[in-house]
């Protein structure tokens, strides 16, 4: 339980706060439109469908504001850098940005559904009101027209007998933008399903750019000011007295003709900030794209792994971080993430790229056809990103488990330890590092070139843990994993099994996911 709180407590707290804000907005705006006196006559036409449409609209404003922020990775890096004071748990939350993005997207989808259904009802009932199906009050309200001679303002957007709900939707700004952006949202969601994303990332990535249409439509969605509220007249219109005698409006002093005006569109106020931030983000990625990157060394390793050693002026990294690479010769618009395998102490940075899909295969093919010692294809680098893996250095004994290409962050860490050791860095607490690399192909090179204790193959974890326990009594051992979920479960169990509260015995702390 304590372990859960340490690992997940802050995330759970953030989720509770976010959900709390959503619920507050929904309830507040529901009551505002359900009970506000200025909407008394609007409710006469629409019933509770009005608040049922406006409440999700408020939640949508909030979430559309949030959704762009988790994907501004440079902004997140900036925040991460400025949170150095605030502890690693805070900074680690920034690594869960994509999970939050998806959560917010689901909320947007849900609220869009509620909002759309409520407006379907609204459109139908506005039409019925105009056609006199709801009694004299509704009928009279609907008959009010925008007329300067009669000094009236309209309430019901339906202004003629031939208007159908469909026509109403497609001839108003709100209706048209609403349909377009809902369609864009649906296409974005269906192409973001995990099955599609994992197999055909390009479809997902290009379709997702429909968000541009989504936000453009969203900003203009309220421009028609179709939600109308009653204005204060002089003398004031006494609703409770006058609503039973609409035929006397304008004839009795207590009942001047009620005036209505549309609400000021507010969505743009919510989303303009994040839109500008996102624009800056894309601009920054473009600037990084233009910066020159040169190749120091290109090596093709066995098992179709490509090592690239790159040099970029002004580039600074920490252990365990990753970069995004873009190769215009392969694809203009695709950026792919790779963990760096070099140490910060080196004057270059390297990545090890495994052939997995189209982009990586094309890159390896291109590099294979290069002349000896030639420069590789133009490469753009964005980054570095990610929380630095400094936890490893906090333990006296660290156990690093990497599966397959998951060894890449460890390569960075091990090299950095080596450099720190060589330069007698006083901050290095690590006295001993046990490194197990789980490889399925025994011919693969040692990435780091270190001789100490890199074992291959699939270990017998019980034996390994027992051995570490015997060799390191009364020590706290940090166990780090970069690999598949099944392995994570296994290792976590072993950590629990071999840990002991007795201070004379060994304690294993398990760090999973991106540390």
């Amino acid at each position: 339980m304590g372990n859960w709180i340490i690992n997940h407590g802050l995330s759970a707290f953030i989720l509770v706060v976010w959900m709390g804000i959503n619920i507050f907005l929904f309830v507040y705006y529901y009551l505002f439109y359900d009970q506000g006196p200025q909407f008394e006559y609007t409710r006469e036409l629409l019933g509770s469908a009005l608040p049922w449409a406006r409440a999700p609209a408020a939640v949508l404003n909030f979430n559309c504001m949030l959704i762009l922020l988790p994907v501004c990775r440079n902004l997140l890096s900036l925040l991460r850098g400025s949170f150095i004071c605030c502890g690693r748990t805070m900074r680690k939350q920034l690594d869960k940005n994509l999970t939050f993005h998806k959560l917010v997207a689901y909320m947007i989808a849900l609220m869009t559904a509620v909002h759309t259904v409520a407006h379907l009802l609204n459109a139908e009932w506005y039409t019925n009101s105009f056609q006199g199906q709801y009694g004299p009050l509704a009928g009279n309200l609907s008959m009010l027209d925008d007329s300067s001679e009669l000094k009236t303002t309209y309430l019901n957007p339906v202004r003629s007998n031939s208007t159908t709900p469909t026509l109403l939707v497609f001839t108003t700004i709100a209706g048209l933008t609403g349909v377009v952006i809902t369609l864009a949202l649906i296409l974005m969601i269906t192409s973001s399903m995990e099955v599609i994303r994992r197999s055909y990332y390009e479809v997902f990535w290009y379709t997702h750019h429909l968000f541009i249409i989504f936000f453009a439509g969203l900003v203009f969605h309220g421009a028609g000011r179709i939600v109308r509220s009653q204005q204060v007249t002089d003398p004031p219109h006494n609703t409770s007295f006058c609503e039973d005698q609409p035929e006397n409006w304008g004839k009795k002093p207590e009942c001047p003709i009620p005036q209505f005006a549309g609400g000021f569109p507010q969505t743009w106020m919510w989303v303009i900030g994040p839109m500008i931030i996102y624009l800056c983000e894309r601009l920054l990625r473009f600037i990084r794209y233009m910066q020159p990157v040169s190749y120091r060394k290109i090596v093709i390793r066995p098992s179709k792994v490509l090592e690239l050693q790159l040099v970029k002026p002004g580039f600074k990294m920490a252990v365990g971080q990753y970069v995004f690479l873009n190769c215009p010769a392969i694809s203009q618009l695709e950026w792919h993430p790779f963990t760096m395998t070099s140490a910060p102490e080196e004057d270059f940075f390297s990545v090890h790229i495994r052939s997995v899909g189209d982009w990586t295969e094309d890159l390896i093919k291109m590099v294979e056809n290069l002349p000896e010692g030639g420069q590789g294809p133009k490469m753009a680098v964005d980054g570095p990103f990610g929380t630095a893996s400094e936890d490893v250095f906090d333990y006296e004994v660290s156990m690093l488990v990497g599966a397959g290409i998951g060894v890449t962050p460890f390569a960075s860490i091990l090299k950095s330890i080596w450099y720190k050791f060589k330069d007698s860095d006083p901050k290095l607490r690590t006295k001993r590092v046990n490194h197990a690399m789980v490889h399925f192909d025994k011919d693969t090179d040692i990435i780091t070139g270190l001789k100490q204790k890199t074992s291959y193959g699939r270990p017998n974890w019980d034996k390994e843990f027992e051995q570490v326990r015997q060799e390191n009594p009364s020590s706290v051992v940090g166990t780090f994993l970069c690999g598949p979920q099944a392995l994570a479960k296994d290792l976590e169990k072993k950590c629990v099994k071999y840990s002991d509260v007795d201070p004379r015995k060994t304690k294993f702390y398990f760090n999973k996911e991106n540390f």
């Binding site: 559904a113 759309t116 259904v117 379907l120 009802l121 459109a123 139908e124 039409t127 159908t164 709900p165 469909t166 939707v169 349909v179 809902t182 369609l183 649906i186 296409l187 969601i189 269906t190 192409s191 399903m193 099955v195 599609i196 197999s199 055909y200 390009e202 479809v203 290009y206 899909g357 189209d358």
Partner: protein, 186 residues
């Protein structure tokens, strides 16, 4: 865009469209909207599309991921043979089903989504894709060997011929045939 199997996206889109079509239909019927008959059709068409699209097709390349509990649907859909296998038929079917939705506001979104799905299926059909059922593989029962003294099927692994060749002067004492002929100077 890479070697995409369009049918995969068409499948997701049409499943979503079916749900939206049906939901719009339910709203139309429950709210007793004008033109509720189109809404009722929308419910029926939406449900039908969902049932048809629920079982994922087996992929041409790569591992196919089933949806939970799709096996019974797979069997039903498979029973219709070429009607359901062929994506031209599906594209046409979705296009036909979506048209009545356009006559009523509540189902208009379902209509457009289904129409888009129909277009993606058309693209899939043009690219030669078709629907394949994901059926559990019946593995042949493992035969317990009658005798463990069966001889090995393959020869023991050897280094490649260039390394195996013996020098010319050592040919007579060689334990095996030289895989390639050599002369004295090599």
């Amino acid at each position: 865009m890479g070697k995409i199997e369009w049918a995969m996206w068409a499948n997701e889109q049409s499943l979503a469209a079916g749900l939206i079509y049906a939901t719009g239909g339910i709203v139309g019927v429950a709210g007793q909207f004008r033109g509720w008959q189109f809404a009722a059709f929308g419910i029926a068409a939406g449900v039908f599309v969902c049932l048809l699209e629920y079982p994922r097709s087996k992929r041409g390349k790569g591992t196919s991921v089933e949806r939970t509990g799709q096996y019974c649907f797979t069997v039903c859909v498979n029973a219709f043979g070429p009607l359901t296998r062929n994506y031209y038929v599906r594209a046409f079917l979705h296009a036909a089903l979506c048209v009545p939705g356009g006559f009523m506001l509540a189902t208009v979104l379902g209509c457009v989504c289904l129409g888009i799905a129909s277009l993606i299926y058309l693209s899939a059909a043009i690219h030669g894709e078709h629907w394949e059922p994901i059926l559990p593989r019946t593995e042949p029962p493992k035969r317990v060997g009658d005798s463990i003294k069966e001889p090995p099927q393959n020869p023991p692994p050897r280094p490649p011929p260039e390394l195996r060749r013996k020098k010319a002067d050592k040919l007579e004492t060689a334990a095996y045939d030289n895989p390639m002929s050599v002369t004295v100077n090599e």
